[in-house]
């Protein structure tokens, strides 16, 4: 069916050049409207960002009733920021709420270290994907092809988060058996100073 129709079109074109020129003019008039630019974040980062953030929020929320409002509200604000308002500020506020929820859960001892790493890591990946998506949307828009740099960016963040998470987890496993308080404290002071100086 489809091959037949293309064959007909071709023969028409060869039969009369004038007609095909007319057809081209018509076509160009149809497509002649100006292509705008849609500054929405591209779909992949919207999907990845929302999905991982909701996952992270769910994991932190599910163990502690007190964290539930933070998780739900945070995920809501985040999703609205990424899907509706395209604002990094909303993303950050949403993320901050979810992370507050996770700290509350953690403070009650409701989360095992494994779950905590998973949840916080997922929230970070979602936040990063969402922000990147909004930046790409602002600069390139949704009509442009942007799959490759999104893919590279999101996978790099995921990989780094997984690596850092795994490393911290291994260190914590090592230190779990009877850590000397002073040693931990010294590490903490070092981390504190370095974080502050490398602050972002």
């Amino acid at each position: 069916m489809s091959t037949k129709s293309t064959g007909e079109e071709q023969s028409e074109e060869t039969v009369s050049g004038a007609r095909s020129a007319d057809a081209r003019v018509e076509e160009s008039q149809e497509s002649g409207s100006v292509q705008g630019v849609d500054h929405a974040p591209p779909r992949p980062s919207q999907v990845v960002g929302t999905a991982t953030t909701v996952l992270g929020a769910f994991v932190t929320v599910v163990f502690t009733p007190l964290a539930v409002p933070f998780g739900i509200a945070g995920a809501g604000v985040f999703a609205a920021g990424l899907l509706v308002t395209y604002s990094t500020r909303w993303l950050t506020i949403g993320t901050a709420m979810i992370l507050t929820g996770s700290l509350i859960s953690g403070a009650y001892g409701a989360l095992t270290p494994e779950v905590m790493i998973l949840a916080v890591g997922a929230v970070f990946v979602g936040w990063d994907a969402g922000q990147h998506g909004i930046a790409v949307g602002e600069q390139l828009g949704r009509r442009a092809r942007t799959d490759r740099n999104q893919l590279v960016h999101i996978s790099a963040t995921t990989l780094v988060t997984a690596l850092v998470g795994a490393l911290s987890y291994l260190v914590s496993l090592f230190g779990r058996g009877g850590r000397p308080g002073p040693a931990v404290a010294t590490v903490v002071v070092g981390v504190l100073v370095l974080t502050w100086l490398y602050r972002l």
Binding site: Q35, R89, A96, M116, V120, Q131, S168, Y169, W196
Partner: protein, 660 residues
């Protein structure tokens, strides 16, 4: 080295030492006893962490996330609509409370002038009578409109403070706007100009599909450029703040973790610190190793044609470029009709990517850069560069047409196609007259001689070529359009002029070009293929006919040229003029009248750029109609060319009207 960076280095050294010691202690618990740790120390550390965390939050809120901005290159340059300046004044008056008295006075004057002109035409009365009618408010049944145009009301006013406050907060139109709208509506009704009032009330906000960035930021870059290679300009780097805020979380988590002694939270804090470090290490890639090739489907297209542009970029360096954004900075006179001139990609060494789009071109020489934004892997730093691939597109009209442009009865001495009202040699019978010595033998009426024996001579209708100059009003006020994204009146005029020029030369007339603007432009009436070629060059390249408004085009030799002096000095006698102008102000009206009264027949071809979305635009539309009317009263032909009409059609209607 200043004190801050010195302290910073010391701090980094201290932190590293502490971290190292701590790890040593973890492995060798015996040594740790030397460090005094109490609950108090832990609490203090937590408090410090919280304070620093708050500081980091503040920084995030202050800085937010910044990105290198990219203009909407897809759209044409946005041009204003006549009357926008009135709306601007109304806005300043009612919303910003600026210049209330003078703006009110200016708007009042304009509206009143229009009303007087319309009244004089419609009621067939003198200026004094019309002013009297306005003064007494007897011209309309609408109270608002009548009050608006009395000298006491002098443009509305007199509303209570309460209404003003309510208007401000309810986002309603102010009383002034309501009065102005009512007045514009009443004058329109009086002029017999029926346009459903309020049909495009929403049109104000309906322009969302148009470009939102005004042209100025397409051109002006406040960042200093730095040429790093023959065709690459660097615009500096930017710290995006993409990960900013993660340190705050780490610090809070540290504090909570210390206070509650929960290992899970300390772990989350460590994750945050790790990611903060990741965000720190990257630097944006060097963009000098990008090879860009741009190909166009047609390097010398016709104006209005659509050409395909495809751009291929290749990473010729040896390092991975993880995050690249390419935006082809299509000139503001072109619009993208298919595809997107943008691409986001990642390029490994030797990797290449391409994108293509289709643009509609306008006349002129075009050469445009490719904007590249390179980010590091974590997205925390951006570098902007411009690469200039050498792909000039030169677009000149072919000057061939099927449109038939009507000339008037003012001719040159050359043979041509205009049937004059004088007798002489020719084809068509014109008249009989007495023989005068020297008349050619062939034109003697021999039959008459045979019958009566007297010599008479037959005159035929002389057919002459007309001498025509196409004159363009290229001042800033001609760059107007009825909607912001549409082609402006001057560019429409010039595109229409291709047809008129070609049609007139095809008919054997002598055609010239002229424009008035900051730059004098004159191509005397002539004919022949060389002349046609020169005309193409003028259309395509002459700065006076730039596709961009003078305020945005290259700023050279911007001096005032008086068309009265510049054109009239060069204009041969017996030359007709086709004057292209949107008639958006009184100046061109005056030009047309003066040229007409100095013996040139003038045909004004006026693309209509007016719209009726706002009161101001409606007033401007009325003003233009009054101008058209006054020109016609002076015997000047005016082709009122609507936006959605082809010029051929407009000329056909006009011809019918002139013949009737």
């Amino acid at each position: 080295m200043d004190i801050v960076s010195l302290g910073r280095r010391a701090g980094i050294a201290l932190g590293t030492i502490a971290l190292g010691l701590g790890i040593v202690f973890l492995f060798a618990p015996g040594q740790a006893a030397a460090v005094p740790v109490t609950v108090l120390v832990v609490d203090v550390a937590a408090v410090v962490a919280v304070v620093l965390g708050l500081w980091a939050v503040r920084q995030r809120l202050k800085g937010g996330s910044r990105r290198i901005s990219v203009p909407d290159v897809e759209f044409r340059l946005a041009t204003p609509t006549p009357g926008d300046e009135i709306d601007e004044k109304v806005y300043r008056m009612t919303e910003l409370r600026e210049g209330t008295l003078e703006y009110r006075e200016q708007i009042y004057e304009r509206v009143r002038d229009v009303a007087v002109s319309v009244l004089r035409q419609r009621r067939d009365c003198s200026r004094e009578e019309a002013e009297g009618l306005l003064e007494r408010g007897e011209w309309t049944a609408d109270d608002h409109a009548a009050a608006f145009l009395t000298s006491r009301g002098s443009g509305g006013g007199g509303q209570s403070l309460v209404t003003q406050v309510v208007d401000r907060f309810t986002d309603r139109e102010s009383a002034y706007e309501q009065q102005l709208r009512a007045t514009a509506g009443e004058i329109e009704a009086l002029a017999g100009y029926s346009d459903e009032p309020g049909t495009d009330r929403t049109g104000n906000s309906g322009d969302s599909e148009g470009p939102d960035a005004m042209a100025s930021d397409v051109f002006s870059r406040d960042v200093e450029a730095n040429r790093v290679a023959d065709d690459v300009l660097y615009f500096g780097t930017l710290t995006t703040g993409h990960w900013s805020g993660i340190a705050a979380f780490s610090l809070f988590a540290l504090a909570v973790g210390l206070l509650t002694s929960q290992p899970a939270i300390l772990l989350a804090s460590a994750l945050g610190v790790g990611l903060a470090g990741y965000a720190r290490v990257g630097t944006p890639p060097a963009l000098t190793n990008l090879a860009v090739t741009r190909t166009v489907s047609d390097e010398s297209p016709e104006p209005g044609a659509e050409i395909d542009v495809s751009v291929t970029v290749e990473n010729e360096g040896s390092s991975f470029m993880p995050d690249l954004s390419f935006v082809d900075r299509v000139p503001p006179t072109m619009s993208v009709v298919e595809g997107s001139p943008r691409l986001g990609t990642a390029l490994r060494p030797g990797g290449r990517a391409s994108f293509s789009y289709r643009v509609r071109v306008t006349r002129g020489e075009h050469d445009w850069p490719l904007q590249v934004i390179g980010r590091d892997l974590s997205g925390s730093a951006e570098r902007e560069a411009e690469i200039e691939p050498e792909t000039p597109v030169s677009c000149a009209p072919r000057l061939e047409t099927v449109v038939d442009a009507p000339v008037r009865l003012q001719t040159s001495v050359y043979e041509g196609e205009v049937k004059t009202k004088t007798g002489g040699s020719g084809l068509e019978f014109f008249s009989l007259r007495d023989y005068q010595p020297g008349d050619p033998e062939s034109r003697i009426n021999w039959k008459e001689f045979a019958r009566t024996g007297e010599f008479t001579t037959i005159d035929f209708r002389e057919e002459r070529a007309a001498r025509v100059v196409l004159l363009f009003d290229c001042r800033e006020s001609s760059y107007v359009s009825s909607t912001p994204g549409e082609m402006d009146a001057l560019n429409r005029s010039i595109e229409a002029a291709y047809d008129v020029f070609a049609s007139l030369t095809d008919q054997g007339h002598l055609v010239g070009l002229a424009a008035y603007n900051g730059v004098p432009c004159w191509l005397g009436p002539s004919t022949g293929s060389m002349h046609r070629q020169r005309a193409r060059e003028v259309f395509a390249e002459h700065p006076a006919m730039s596709a961009l408004p003078p305020s945005l085009a290259a700023k050279d030799e911007g001096r005032y040229v008086d068309p009265m002096v510049h054109i009239r000095r060069q204009l041969p006698s017996n030359t007709q003029l086709f004057l292209f102008s949107p008639l958006a102000d009184d100046y061109t009206h005056e030009v047309a009248r003066r040229l007409h009264s100095s013996g040139h027949l003038v045909t004004v071809i006026s693309p209509n750029p007016t719209a009726g979305r706002t009161p101001g635009q409606r007033v401007a539309r009325l003003e233009r109609r009054v101008r058209v009317r006054r020109l016609r009263d002076h015997g000047i032909r005016v082709v009122d060319w609507e936006t959605d009409e082809s010029l051929g059609l407009a000329l056909e209607y006009a011809r019918k009207r002139w013949q009737a």
